[in-house]
């Protein structure tokens, strides 16, 4: 059994289990930690898929920055006391599960029809990654995807603005009219 196969069969269940774990945890902090585990698994997959650059980015950006941000907010808001897991919405759970199953089946069918379960990745990715994955990505990124790369900058500005605008603590009082409006629209 080739190494990548072993790695896949080891980490795939872990990733799925961690995802399920996130789904089931009452406590938000625990859930976040499960998610981190999941992200690590994915990073490992990137590695065996010959994408070391993304492996690094995944750990640094996702597992590192993003999840820390999440944990920070969880702590900040003090919502780590655990959620109420009772479902009040009618048929939400069975429907969601059924649809989820359907979704997976669809994807399995499409993948089988589209690429087939026997198809292995073709060899020769080293040539693509020449001289190294990071350099190769840089080449593609700054040549073919120069413009999208620039465009992401706008996203970041917006993100910054969003934090600024929404983070302002100056909230105004609720007017009586608003309260009434809220009441009338609530059945």
């Amino acid at each position: 059994m080739p190494l990548d196969n072993v790695v896949f069969w080891v980490f795939a269940p872990i990733s799925v289990a961690s995802a399920i774990g996130m789904l089931l945890m009452r406590n938000a902090v625990h859930a976040a930690l499960f998610l981190v585990v999941n992200f690590f698994c994915l990073a490992v997959f990137y590695l065996i898929l010959d994408a070391p650059f993304l492996f690094a980015v995944q750990i640094i950006v996702y597992a590192g920055a993003i999840m820390v941000l999440f944990l920070f907010v969880i702590m900040l808001l003090g919502v780590d006391r655990g959620d109420d897991l009772r479902e009040r919405l009618f048929a939400q759970r069975p429907l969601a599960l059924a649809l989820g199953a359907g979704f997976v089946i669809e994807i399995v069918l499409a993948v089988r029809a589209g690429i087939g379960f026997a198809t292995k990745a073709p060899a020769g990715f080293d040539a693509v990654n020449d001289p190294g994955n990071t350099q190769a990505i840089a080449k593609v990124l700054f040549r073919d995807y120069f413009f999208p790369f620039e465009a992401t900058s706008i996203l970041l500005i917006i993100a910054a603005m969003a934090a600024m605008v929404l983070g302002q603590r100056k909230t105004r009082a609720v007017t009586q009219a608003e309260l009434e409006a809220m009441e009338t629209t609530t059945p």
């Binding site: 649809l99 989820g100 359907g102 979704f103």
Partner: protein
């Protein structure tokens, strides 16, 4: 304007005959109120003028050889669509000549009478306007050269009848009677309209020449029967024959001159005119003539029994009119068209006379119409009384008055053509006629006065009595003058239209006359004994005979039957249709759809729960749905 067959040019004036009354009708309608009493005079003069014109034109017609006695005046194309056209074409032939003379002649007298009778009515001018309008339409009816124009006149006289019956519309029962008259006759009219449509669909035209002059094999016998019966249905309505007779007794709600003119002398005889005019069609069918005969006979007897039980002077006359019209139809049904026409003319005189007489009585008795409250009037109002007696004798069929010749001839033809049953039943009708008219005369004019009004009744002014006298003269003379049998003047005059009088074998004319007179006289004698001698408690007898007299008085409950069978279910059906079917059914369905959509919207709102997770679920549902759909395309 285009005239056919006019030798002297007098015939060119034919159009003036109807137009003069029309013009005056319009004048009176708009400025009648300002004319005041003059309105009546003007209106009478108009009809008089019409009469004079008619006479001149008819004289001109008479001066020609028989086969040239036809005048057609094409005024203008009225309806002309595709290759169908119906024009305003006037036709003066011997038949219409007879009719216009009666209409304008009797009409004139009644107009004059009305000048006095309507004195002081707030709508005096309007009354004469309507009356003139009626004359116009009646003339149009008889002068028409096609069924279309005839139908115009036909409906027009119905309109005027409506207006005049309901002339005193403040009383609800008058208004109801007017509506009843119009609607009932319109039932017949509608059948007639269908008949016209049938004619058009067979002949492509409504012109008399084309339809009536067509060769016998143009249409099938069955078609001829259908057309004839449909036309006859119109006649039944207009001439108040069974089963559409119910409107005429009620129509007495109108002013008495109206009853005289419209509901005795002219309009109601239009049906007879129609049958005579359409004789070729009826003869083609054969069956139709039998129907005419039977309807006439049934009506004659039926109405006579009713007349016997009425206490209202005008209602007696109304039923009498129905009965007499039945006699005319009997004649026509036996192809004895001249007899029918003769009786029409004679009846116009004596029945108009009696109506006007009744009006005069009412005039003298503060609008009292109840026979039980009269009696002995002949002393208080001799002119009215004696002229009335003349009319009554004419109706009873006493020689040599007009009625005698008319009725006698018809019975004679029945006898001579071997229709024994018809003869016997007709004779029974004659007996009943003499009986009810005798009853009327003796109750009203003889015996002792039975009320204060009767005791203090007064004679009417000359403007009313003069027409009575003239009409009485007509009733006396018409019979002799226009008489009689196959060689009679009127019969010969009408021959180009009606064909020869049927011949046959039977009892001799003299024998029949004797029988008829004897029956009439004895009936009158009986009537006098019962109602005028004072020796018979006729009211007591009547009470003992109940419920028969009450049934007869109510017209054998036909009105009730119609009300139960047609009117009430009809209204119930309409009510059901409008209040259940339409508003709950059809509209309910519509509103149901609307309400359904609203409810759908209201319940659909609940999908939009406000839960963001529900929204996500919906989203996911959609996504999976799209995937599944595409999955099926693989």
């Amino acid at each position: 304007m285009f005239t056919v067959g006019s030798a002297s040019g007098v015939g060119n004036l034919l159009w003036l005959v109807p137009v003069v009354p029309l013009a005056i009708a319009v004048v009176n309608l708009f400025i009648g109120r300002r004319l005041g009493r003059l309105a009546g005079v003007v209106a009478s003069v108009a009809v008089g003028l019409s009469f004079v014109l008619s006479s001149v034109i008819v004289m001109d017609l008479l001066s020609r050889p028989t086969e040239e006695r036809l005048e057609i005046q094409r005024l203008y194309e009225w309806i002309s669509v595709g290759r169908f056209s119906g024009g305003v074409d006037l036709r003066l032939d011997v038949l219409s000549a007879t009719m216009i003379l009666v209409i304008t002649g009797v009409g004139f007298l009644i107009h004059v009478y009305a000048i006095g009778y309507m004195e002081g009515d707030p709508r005096y001018g309007r009354f004469f306007s309507y009356l003139n309008l009626f004359v116009f339409f009646m003339l149009l009816l008889v002068l028409a050269d096609n069924y279309l124009l005839l139908y115009v006149g036909w409906e027009g006289v119905g309109l005027c009848s409506y207006l005049l019956i309901g002339f005193w519309f403040e009383k609800p029962e008058n208004a109801t009677a007017a509506k009843k008259a119009f609607v009932t006759t319109r039932i017949g009219d509608t059948a007639m309209l269908i008949g016209l449509a049938l004619i058009v669909s067979k002949f492509g035209t409504l012109d008399f020449d084309a339809v009536l002059g067509a060769p016998g094999d143009t249409i099938a016998k069955g078609t001829a029967t259908a057309i004839s019966l449909l036309l006859f249905a119109g006649a039944i309505g207009k001439s108040a024959q069974v089963p559409l007779h119910v409107w005429l007794p009620d129509a007495m709600a109108g002013p008495t001159p109206v009853s005289a003119l419209i509901h005795a002398a002219t309009m109601v005889t239009a049906g007879v005119y129609l049958v005579v005019r359409s004789a070729p069609l009826f003869e083609l069918s054969g069956v139709a003539l039998t129907v005419v005969l039977i309807v006439g006979l049934v009506t004659a007897l039926f109405a006579a029994t009713c007349a016997l039980a009425q206490d209202d002077i005008k209602r007696v006359l109304a039923y009498s009119t129905i009965s007499q019209l039945g006699f005319m139809f009997m004649a026509a049904g036996m192809r004895f068209y001249t007899g029918a026409m003769f009786m029409l003319v004679a009846h116009a005189f004596y029945k108009a006379l009696m109506f006007l007489g009744a009006g005069s009585v009412m005039h003298g008795m503060h609008e009292e119409t109840d026979l039980q409250r009269m009696g002995g009037l002949i002393r208080r109002m001799p002119i009215t009384g004696w002229t009335f007696v003349i009319g009554a004798l004419a109706l009873a069929g006493i020689w040599p008055l007009a009625g005698f010749f008319a009725k006698d001839q018809i019975l004679e033809i029945a006898n001579h053509t071997g229709r024994t049953w018809i003869y016997l039943l007709g004779t029974l009708g004659a007996l009943l006629s003499a009986l009810y008219i005798g009853r009327l005369v003796f109750l009203a004019f003889f015996g002792a006065p039975r009320s204060d009004e009767a005791r203090h009744a007064h004679e009417s002014p000359p403007v009313m009595t003069v027409p009575l006298v003239i009409l009485a003269a007509g009733a006396v003379l018409a019979g002799l003058f226009l008489s009689t049998s196959a060689e009679g003047t009127l019969a010969r005059f009408l021959e180009p239209i009606t064909g020869p009088v049927p011949h046959g074998e039977g009892l001799s004319t003299l024998a029949l006359s004797v029988i008829a007179t004897a029956i009439a006289l004895s009936a009158l004698a009986v009537a006098s004994w019962i109602y005028a001698s004072g020796r018979v408690d006729w009211l007591g007898i009547r009470e003992r005979l109940q419920p028969l007299p009450r049934a007869a008085a109510s017209g054998w409950y036909v009105d009730h039957a119609y009300s139960t069978l047609f009117v009430k279910p009809g209204i119930a059906a309409a009510r059901f249709s409008a209040e259940v079917l339409d508003s709950k059914g059809v509209d309910g369905l519509v509103n149901g759809v609307g309400g359904g959509v609203r409810r759908l919207a209201a319940s659909g709102r609940r999908i939009q729960t406000g839960f963001v997770r529900s929204y996500a679920l919906g989203f996911f549902l959609g996504a999976v749905g799209v995937l599944v759909w595409l999955g099926t395309r693989l």
